[in-house]
């Protein structure tokens, strides 16, 4: 039983990494949003499983937030944004998809190596979870820096944040997890609203950040 519990947690976390990879090679915006929704669902499952494992019912709230907010509200909002703003559907990556994948593999390897150095003092679940969480974080950042499109970057950031939540829930008994996940949700909402409503739409024709950059101040 112990073994099975661990395996399920492990495979859910691993699934998150896998989905992160899937996001890396998406070149269509709507598909990207959908896959992000999948990641959010996986995250919700993972968090819920942790809640069950640690007998920490407050984590169910986090899971619920992840499910409702990230898997449903945000993807819907993003779909509307790309429709309303008429952003062309193709994502323009900065580096080729292949190289991005390659770098991604390197990042996962790096996070494994770094985590290997952690002594077994911590619970093995936590250790594995951390390695996966770190991978997700790094892949999220990679996504942010290899996408020109603001929506792509936001998804990268959210994926990064998923890694954080994974880590936070994996840390047994960590206080404030719920609060933090709420805070992050608000943050993401701000970003999305920033793109959608926060006057950027009024002043810039697209949310492609390179257009925004034209307004860099003087020196």
């Amino acid at each position: 039983m112990e073994r099975l519990v661990f395996d399920i947690a492990h495979s859910l976390a691993g699934g998150l990494v896998l989905v992160s990879f899937m996001m890396l090679y998406q070149d269509r915006l709507s598909a990207l949003i959908n896959i992000f929704a999948v990641q959010a669902v996986l995250l919700a499952l993972s968090v819920a499983w942790q809640a069950y494992m640690q007998q920490a019912p407050h984590l169910y709230i986090t899971a619920a937030i992840a499910l409702v907010f990230k898997a449903i509200v945000i993807p819907v909002a993003l779909h509307r944004i790309i429709k309303q703003l008429g952003i062309h559907r193709e994502i323009e990556p900065v580096v080729g998809i292949g190289s991005t994948m390659f770098i991604g593999i390197g990042l996962v390897a790096l996070s494994m190596v770094v985590m290997m150095r952690v002594t077994g003092q911590a619970a093995p679940v936590a250790r594995e979870d951390l390695a996966f969480a770190l991978s997700v974080i790094l892949l999220g950042m990679l996504m942010m820096v290899t996408r020109r499109n603001a929506v792509g970057q936001v998804i990268g950031f959210m994926s990064l944040e998923n890694g954080l939540v994974l880590a936070a829930t994996g840390a047994k008994g960590m206080p404030l997890v719920v609060e933090i996940s709420v805070a992050f949700s608000v943050l993401i909402a701000f970003i999305v609203i920033g793109i959608f409503l926060f006057r950027i739409r009024e002043r810039f024709d697209t949310v492609d950040l390179s257009a925004l950059d034209r307004h860099r101040g003087g020196q």
Partner: protein, 671 residues
């Protein structure tokens, strides 16, 4: 109350004057009051120091104030070396203040001068008094800062702001190198007190590094080539009484810094130290005077000439180091005395000359010698004082400049016994350079005096010049008298320097004041001796005799007539030799050595009536080879890095990301 405490009160009073001058900057008479106060304060400090010197033989007294580094306190100490340099500082300060009583009336923006002037005087006093690294550096930089503000007085002229900028950057460079030097001297435990540094033992490598850093730091303030570039820009930009202080006194404070560290704090010298110092001194003397010869701005000429004199001082210091390594304390004493004597002399005649230049500036509004001429008729007293200064600085007997150079030559002649080959080659070569610079200095001041004061006026301003006020004249004539006195009674000065050499080298020169006829005999009577008093008396007597005989027995008739000029009467004043043309033969001879000289002659074809044009441009090789590349490198770095200002957010994120990856990689491979 100890002497040092009284001096600190004087300094405090100076600082208070600075603050009060801000408060009363709207009062009309503030200028007068500030300068009078400064003069009184400096004079009382001077009197105090002289009494101290004569009374107690420059005994040492210290004082610690609860300022500065909290666990260390601010240490101040008055010893023989400090006494000597404080005399130089306060003599110059008192004279400048008296001079400024007259000169300062013409200042258009006194509120930009007065507070900084008083603070500058206080700063120079404090540097010499400071007895720990922090207090020293603080006062040192404070001195730079206040003088920077003074250079900035006429800030509306771009040239001045540029000069001030270069000045303060170089000063800051000097302070930072000195900071490194002190850091090394203080050792890992941070003993910043000079007493602790003195007793500490340093490895040869550390000592060598400190020496180099000190030469960079103090040398940049003193104006050693190649760190001199700021000096000829900044000194002339300030008001003339400040120029006098900067050239005549502040550079001496820099010399004080090097003497204090190299001779007092650093311990046993290595033989090549002397060589390094000699080399820098030697090139400074020659390059300084050659650059000076090429100037036609009177104040800039004087400023460049400071570089030469600083070179002479450092030659003396280098010789002293070389002798000291080889345990030739007699010769080392002679060389150090020569250097310190020159410090004193230069503070006298350089201040005097800047006062003179200031008087010319007041009278004509011109610093450009090409616009001057014939001032000897309109400003007789000024021109007399200036002439005395010129003779003194050209190292001609019987005035004081000659004595210190003579002593330096005597020291050079002691150096055949030096065992090191490097020094054997270096010392005579430096001797040659010194001889060359002495001759060129005379040429330089023939030009300076001849073009400015002699001949016919080259502009309306020069034609309408008038003699300056009494304060200025009194200061100039007083300093002329001092130049003469120090020249004809050098033995007194040498004896007064004995405590300094005793404390630094542990030996002193033979007592001079007991020698009959007041001669000076540096080593033995058989080797060399000089008697300025007699030479002066002889010249005066024989000149008077000749004049008397001729006037009495031959003729005294005199008729005024137009100048003959080989039969070309009534030529335009423009046909006179100018400053540029006067220097042309020397420019031809030494031009390629020191400058990138480009002479362009545009000669119209026959029948063409446009005027011929001759343009000589001088490029400063040191500026081009050493400073422009640095400027270029900074600009290049700024230009390249500046791209980072214009990245997209994604690229900035990329930077964060890469930093993260790098750090993680470091963690991964960390043992």
């Amino acid at each position: 109350m100890t002497a040092v405490a009284m001096l600190m009160w004087v300094v405090a009073a100076l600082l208070a004057t600075a603050v009060l001058s801000v408060a009363f900057s709207r009062t009309a008479a503030v200028s007068h009051w500030v300068y009078s106060t400064c003069a009184v304060l400096c004079a009382s400090a001077l009197g105090l120091l002289l009494v101290h010197l004569l009374g107690s033989g420059a005994s040492t007294s210290g004082l610690t104030l609860p300022l500065g580094l909290p666990w260390l306190g601010a240490h101040f100490r008055l010893d023989a070396l400090a006494t000597f340099f404080l005399i130089v500082v306060n003599l110059g300060g008192a004279a400048s203040s008296v001079y400024a009583l007259g000169y300062g009336r013409h200042e258009s923006a006194p509120h930009r001068v007065l507070p900084f002037y008083a603070a500058f005087l206080a700063g120079m006093n404090l540097v010499v008094l400071a007895d720990d690294a922090f207090a020293f550096l603080l006062c040192w930089e404070f001195m730079s800062l206040t003088s920077w503000a003074l250079v900035m007085t006429q800030h509306r002229e771009h040239e001045n702001t540029r000069a001030a900028y270069i000045y303060l950057v170089m000063a800051s460079f000097g302070t930072l190198t000195l900071l490194l030097a002190f850091g090394l001297l203080a050792g890992p435990d941070g003993h910043y007190g000079f007493a602790a540094m003195r007793s500490a033992v340093h490895t040869p490598a550390v000592s060598a590094l400190v020496l180099v850093l000190v030469l960079l730091g103090a040398g940049s303030k003193a104006g050693l080539v190649p760190l001199h570039v700021w000096l000829p820009l900044a000194h002339p930009a300030a008001p003339s009484h400040v120029s006098a202080l900067m050239s005549g006194v502040m550079t001496k404070v820099a010399v004080y810094g090097s003497v204090r560290i190299i001779f007092d704090l650093l311990g046993e010298p290595a033989w090549w130290w002397g060589m390094l110092v000699l080399f820098l001194g030697g090139i400074s003397t020659v390059l300084g005077v050659i650059y000076a010869l090429m100037q036609h701005d009177l104040k800039r000429l004087l400023a460049y000439h400071t570089v030469e004199n600083i070179g002479i001082i450092y030659i003396g210091l280098g010789l002293a180091l070389a002798f000291q390594t080889n345990a030739m304390s007699g010769a080392a004493t002679l060389a150090l005395t020569a250097a310190l004597f020159h410090v004193f002399n230069h503070s006298l005649f350089k201040s005097l000359l800047f006062f003179g230049a200031g008087a010319v500036l007041t009278a004509t509004g011109q610093r450009d010698m090409e616009q001057l001429g014939g001032l000897i008729h309109r400003m007789p007293y000024t021109s007399f004082a200036f002439l005395v200064g010129c003779v003194a600085i050209s190292a001609l007997p019987p005035l004081n400049g000659f004595v210190s150079e003579w002593l330096t030559f005597q020291a050079i002649l002691q150096s055949t016994d030096l065992p090191q080959w490097g020094l054997k080659i270096m010392v005579p070569a430096v001797g040659g350079l010194l001889a060359l610079s002495a001759a060129l200095a005379a040429a330089c001041f023939v030009k300076a005096f001849g073009v400015t004061f002699l001949g016919r006026p080259r502009s309306a301003a020069a034609m309408q010049a008038h003699e300056v006020d009494r304060y200025s004249l009194a200061t100039m004539l007083g300093f002329s008298l001092l130049c003469l006195l120090a020249g004809i009674l050098p033995g007194l000065v040498i004896d007064a320097l004995a405590p300094v050499t005793m404390s630094l080298i542990g030996a002193r020169m033979p007592v001079q004041s007991s020698i009959p006829w007041l001669s000076i005999i540096p080593i033995t009577a058989g080797r060399s001796s000089y008697n300025g008093l007699l030479v002066f008396a002889f010249i005066a007597m024989s000149g008077a005799l000749a004049a008397y005989v001729i006037h009495r027995f031959a003729s005294r008739a005199l008729r005024r007539a137009p100048a003959w000029d080989c039969g070309f009467p009534d030529a335009d004043p423009a046909t006179q030799y100018t400053a540029g043309s006067f220097a042309q033969p020397i420019r031809r001879v030494f031009g390629e050595l020191a400058f990138r000289l480009r002479e362009q002659l545009d000669l119209p074809a026959p029948g063409d009536i446009r005027p011929a044009r001759f343009v000589a441009t001088l490029g400063d090789r040191i500026w081009e080879l050493m400073y422009l590349p640095v400027v270029g490198a900074v600009q290049f770095g700024a230009e390249q890095l500046n791209r980072v200002q214009f990245l997209t957010i994604r690229r900035y994120l990329n930077l964060v990301f890469l930093t993260l990856i790098t750090l993680l990689l470091v963690l991964a491979i960390w043992p």
